[in-house]
Amino acid sequence: MSSHSAPSFKNPVVRWVDSRLPVFSYMHAEYGTFPMPKNLNYFWNFGALAMVVLITMILTGIMLAMQYTAHTEHAFDSVERIMRDVNFGWLLRYIHMNGASMFFIVVYVHIFRGYYYGSYKQPRELLWILGVVILVLMMGTAFMGYVLPWGQMSFWGATVITNLFSAIPLVGENIVTWLWGGFSVDNPTLNRFFALHYLFPFLILGVVILHVVALHVTKSNNPDGIDVRGPQDTVPFHPYFTAKDSVGLGVFLLIFAFFVFFAPNYMGHPDNYIEANPLVTPAHIVPEWYFLPFYAILRSFTDDWWFFSWFLSWLMTAKLAGVLAMFGSLIVLAVLPWLDTSKVRSNRYRPIHKWLVIAVLIDFVILGWVGGKPAEEPYVSIAQWSTLFYFFAFIVLTPIIGWIERPRPLPASISEPVLKGGATTAKMEKS
């Protein structure tokens, strides 16, 4: 892929293998000499961090699966047995439980990085779409994983979310019955969720590999969002980024470990330490925190919302509108490369769009906040206006700003950040 200067390995075994299956040359080219823009900031750590968390989740998950029992009568107790009697079971379980939250924190920052520095633009559109696919798969995985300990939130969360499919016209109810494997969330549901929860992370791993292959074709974007002009702009991955990613990893592990050892239940819900009981509905059913922004979008669509009754009520139910909007919020992300009409990547050079990016970030946090609140005023109105803003920002403001904005002059190159007037901008736009 990159300029292979086939290294000569000293170790004869390595040489023997490499001449038959060039895994060593490949690693050398992709993680040794691979050229990285030298102006990357610490935002560029988060991809590597996500990879570390994914591997951590797979390893701890496989070890948990050896002790876990996927049966409604035993699931809750088997998780408690892991916590109490399995050697270091508490550690595995808390790593896995908090790892899911860390995974989302890391991936959300990683996505925001791409959004702010325009990494979704030509030529990285497919790389970006693969990223959105990973996010969707992660959401599915985490949702099903949360059902496994069979606590009250597991059960009721699963009931609420699977019920969403009943909004699909005509076949909705049948689909829900099919998903459940019965007429309510029950043992067959738990069994298939376990099977799929085991499978999905490997699908994620597959898409992550494609994501990295695509990355190594287009190479990394950088905070200036301009193309690499030559070797003076780059440094080899090793030792420069192995060193820099390690720093990020160290800091990340400190935060992760703090949660695992000192606040392992902070991001969870206490009700999930009550065994699932189909006869007792919890006062407030709330999904895990990382779903809250999407949950807020889903719940925004109520029958009495003016937006719904003006524009959509003739066509569909509020429930279906909510479900479509929730999936739509991810689709909008996937098509962002074509919604953004500006050629300039980095928001460092986009005086107007930069504020839109920050506003969308704030909007997303607000959605997360109201998503965890009960469906009452003022939270409902806040959620509805934030939902509208989310879509308005991407579908309307993003293309318009791209057309009207006058970008600031771009630097001539990464190694020469001295501004040389508007000429470079023009050159950039042609390329």
Partner: protein
């Protein structure tokens, strides 16, 4: 210029991460606090990064549990052998277990029989099933207490208060505040407008105000083996400490391991920072 932009970008990232973490812990907790009165917050021995369970208090708590609560509430996740974790010797545990009868069998006649419990047995349940428990308690179901401290830990109030408590490593201690409050201070005269059904009592810390549990603790209701004066408050503290241990017997191991892990990671990260600085020293960027 470059530095300020980089600073800005990192600032946004940090704010987003901190905001997410703060928000992530708040789900629904302020609510729970808003429904009923907030129980007083106590200093519990097991909070903080170095916290350990006060063994004397937890042992007294076991006494309260087994002499008072056990007639109605199970402790299904525990085995008698777990009690060695509270500082009892194996002989003491065997002796404690032997007071209880468990069903075993079938024997070679094909019959079930009763025998004294052994350390490897689960704590015996007060009722054979939920229906029996309800029948004996005027329709109310006394919940299993194994995880009560964790599943009643609805936090300390606002998002900010919860975030601060998280940094102080107060963990699930709000659940112990709740159980202590419920037992020691919750039973007060009901307000005028509250109508209680027969068999219900008023407790100001219960969400609905009505509770099916008669006030279980009385002054000197137990006679402590270590001579401590058994006030209601003392009993409530002791049983809450015991139940906090029962909810997570591995808490101490977790924190002790955590201190070592964090020290190691801090040093290791320091070294990594130094390596990175040296590596990048010659690069102009």
């Amino acid at each position: 210029m470059a530095i300020t932009l980089k600073g800005f970008a990192l600032g946004v990232a940090t704010a987003a991460v901190a905001g997410t973490i703060a928000l992530s812990g708040m789900t629904d907790r302020a609510l729970a606090a808003g429904e009923a009165e907030h129980p007083p917050e106590l200093d519990w021995s097991w909070t903080g990064p170095f916290g350990t369970f006060d063994r004397a208090s937890a042992q007294r708590g076991l006494q309260v549990y087994s002499q008072v609560c056990a007639s109605c509430h199970g402790l299904g996740q525990l085995y008698y052998r777990d009690l060695t974790g509270l500082g009892y010797t194996e002989d003491q545990v065997a002796e404690f277990a032997a007071q209880y009868q468990v069903e075993d069998g079938p024997n070679d006649q094909g019959e079930m029989y009763m025998r004294p419990a052994e350390p490897s047995d689960h704590f015996v349940e007060p009722f054979p099933n939920e229906a029996a428990a309800r029948a004996a308690n005027g329709g109310a179901h006394p919940p299993d207490l194994s995880l009560i401290i964790k599943n009643r830990a609805h936090g300390f109030g606002s998002i900010g208060e919860n975030f601060l408590a998280m940094l102080q490593v107060r963990g699930y201690s709000s659940g112990a505040d709740y159980v202590h409050g419920l037992l020691a201070e919750g039973y007060v005269d009901p307000p005028e407008d509250v109508n209680l059904l027969p068999g219900q009592y008023y407790n100001k810390f219960m969400g609905s105000g009505a509770i099916g549990m008669p006030p279980p603790l009385y002054p000197d209701g137990v006679e402590y083996e270590d001579g401590t004066e058994a006030t209601v408050d003392q009993q409530a503290r002791d049983v809450s400490t015991f139940l906090a241990w029962a909810a997570e017997p591995r808490l101490e191991a977790r924190k002790q391991t955590g201190v070592k892990v964090l020290i190691f990671l801090a040093i290791f990260t320091g070294i990594l920072i130094a390596v990175k600085r040296r590596t990048w020293a010659s690069v102009k960027h």
